[in-house]
Amino acid sequence: MNLADGGSGPRVRVGTARLTDGLAVFGVCLGVLVLLATESGRHPTSTGAGFSGAVGGAYLVAGVLAVHRRPSAPGNRIGLLLVLVGIGWFAEDVQISVDPAVHTVGLLLRSASAGFLVHLLLAYPDGVLRGRSDRLLTAVCYAVVFAGIPLSTLGFTTLTPNLLLVWPLPYDTIARAEDAVQLVLGAAVVAVLARRWIAATRPARRVLVPLSAVGLLGATTSVLDAVLGTGPSWHHQVLITVAHAATLALPLAFLGGVWRVRLGRTSVSDLLMRINGSDPRQLRELLARALGDPSVQIGYHRPERGDYIDADGRPLALDRAVTPVHRDGQRVAVLIHDPALREDHHVLAAVTSAAALELDNQRLAAEVRAQLAEVKASRARIVAAGDEQRMRVERDLHDGAQQLLVTAALTLRLARGQPAVRTDPELTELLRRTADGLEEALTELRVLASGIHPSVLTDLGLRPALRALAARSPRPVELTGSDLPRLPDLVAVTAYYVAAEAVTNALKHAAAEHIRIEVGTVDGALRVAVADDGVGGADPALGTGLTGLSDRVSAVDGELTVTAAPGAGTTVTALLPLESS
């Protein structure tokens, strides 16, 4: 079992939070300093100080919010990265300075935010890089930003003197090289995000939507820009504006992610209001809505067996992510859900504690239903086993005792034909009496075997068996009704016993003159009705016969009704479902 855990220990959390706060303060100071220092050097076509400040500030604020609003490992790591992107963003503006020394330092840091940004995009929302490809891509980006770019500065010719210029290269050469690298890395990030989006389940997408959309937009414009060339042109202006907008939107998108979690909390309060008295299906739907996971399943705990059942009492497999629900320290149920829900584990925790009481109630109901289903199944098994037994006894009588007696009678007949016997009148008489006794025994045995289980029922089915039952009766028995489909054995045998018992009762207790057996199918059930014209007013406690019948009929989920108005005869009706539910 794979239970969602609550994240790393509190000590680590506090450490990261402090570090983030410290870095954010540093970022704010850096930002103010940079904006003031570079104000004079800003090119008219370059981005305004206001925009720069807004973007950088948004990252810093979002980072701090993330750390404090989601005090768990993923939130921490994401918050730290957001603050680092903000610092990088301000560092990139240092190059605008007209002071050669400051400008040169700025050139070294001119793409500082890109490495953190790629790291942030790939690590969202867990805060960790999941696959080897993610880690490799992030490492390459950091290498380009903090090693490749500074190295290229040695050949970078700029308006404000570059103090590190040792090997002047044409501006185009470096710009093209940077475009190519930007293209490759941008495409790789787009590919990774697109693949993640396609593979994501619904709850996971819910968390991914804002950041992925903005991230894809930013990466796509960056790729387009690189393809079309970063030289001064109208499309560069447009794309760079879009890229900037995306950059500004990214921290907002993260705040959007936080907002979505809050939306989840709204669903929890909705859940709380409606949960009482909901039936099992409603309860599951409420939970599915609150969690944003339509596939959520509830597994009710059976402590004595250590397993989990659904609302209908069927055992469940814990094959996906599982979150336990506790009440008074006892596990009452588990929610089986999409693994992506763990990223929203606040919602998960809120939902499970809100639903614990109702789930406990439903658990008891589910347990009762499971027991009922078990009792029903066991009763059907007992009845079927009884029938099986009777059939075997009948078969044994037939193949054993009856066969042996017939053979003995035949052999006796051969003996009686012997000349020595024929001349002895006393022996003849004894053998005649033996033969008569054997014949009587055979007749009795045949009646007994047929009463235990009529062969014709097995051999030919219900209707011929009922016809034979009618033919055996000393009073007229009429058989009516429609043709029958192929019946399950248990149903056919049950119907036969109902008819046989009802006919016996009518003859024995009701002094009936005429009996009618009606058999046919109605709405997926077999209906057998036995009506007589006897005295009626049958006492329901008339004998164990009717009680036994009622038990038999219930065993196949059927219904037995007896109507017996005094003077109007008795009607016994059984409805036996053909498909067991």
Binding site: A409, L410, T411, R413, T443, T458, A471, P476
Partner: protein, 221 residues
């Protein structure tokens, strides 16, 4: 039944002791026992190989011990109409009789197995082997016993009912006369009267007569 060349008989029953005793009884009565077999396939093969006058067949045989004997009997009657078939069973069922007889009441019999030790058994064997019929009195009375039949048969006198039952068993007028201690002429007049009342066309042919009676009993079920 002591003619020098009695009917050739094949016996099919999976109970060996019974089979042996039955063979002994029939042999003493002058039958030639051509084969004793224990399952339907062996029965069909033996009938093909020996061309008997009569096959005595138990209804329950391997492999399922249900109606294998009945099905084999029906097949013999279809493919070898000259072979008489006498079906033995531990219980009687009108539906089995209907299936066995089909549309030709010639050389066919259906008896409770217990009858083998009774006095009439050898007579039934002889009749079926000779191409006549022999039906168990119990199955005939069951067919005559239903409520509607009782209404339809209400018009018959007690004596006529007795005659009808014996007719349905496959007995000839002479046999009926012997059984009821009547003269042949009296039986003939009863038969005419029965046919008239039941609206069955009078047929001289014995087989058609049995078939007519059975068809009448069946149709009124």
């Amino acid at each position: 039944m002591n003619a020098p060349a009695g009917p050739g008989v094949v016996i099919a029953d999976d109970a060996r002791l019974f089979r042996t005793a039955l063979a002994e009884l029939l042999a003493k009565a002058g039958c030639r026992i051509l084969a004793e077999v224990g399952d339907p396939d062996a029965l069909l093969a033996a009938v093909e190989a020996t061309g008997p006058d009569l096959a005595v067949v138990d209804i329950r045989m391997p492999p399922e011990h249900r109606l294998e004997g009945l099905h084999a009997a029906v097949r013999i009657r279809r493919t070898r109409p000259s072979v008489g078939v006498l079906l033995l069973s531990q219980y009687l069922e009108a539906a089995h009789l209907t299936e066995l007889v089909g549309h030709a009441a010639r050389g066919v019999g259906y008896l409770l197995k217990d009858r083998v030790s009774g006095g009439d058994f050898l007579d039934a064997v002889r009749r079926v082997a000779a191409g006549d019929c022999a039906f168990d009195p119990d199955v005939v009375s069951a067919m005559m016993g239903g409520p509607r039949r009782r209404d339809l048969l209400d018009g018959l006198t007690g004596r006529e009912l007795e005659v009808l039952a014996l007719m349905a068993q496959g007995r000839s007028n002479q046999a009926i006369a012997d059984a009821l201690h009547l003269t042949g002429k009296t039986v003939e007049s009863h038969v005419r009267s029965i046919f008239q009342r039941l609206d069955i066309p009078t047929e001289a042919d014995h087989h058609r007569r049995v078939l007519a009676v059975l068809a009448y009993l069946r149709s009124s079920r």
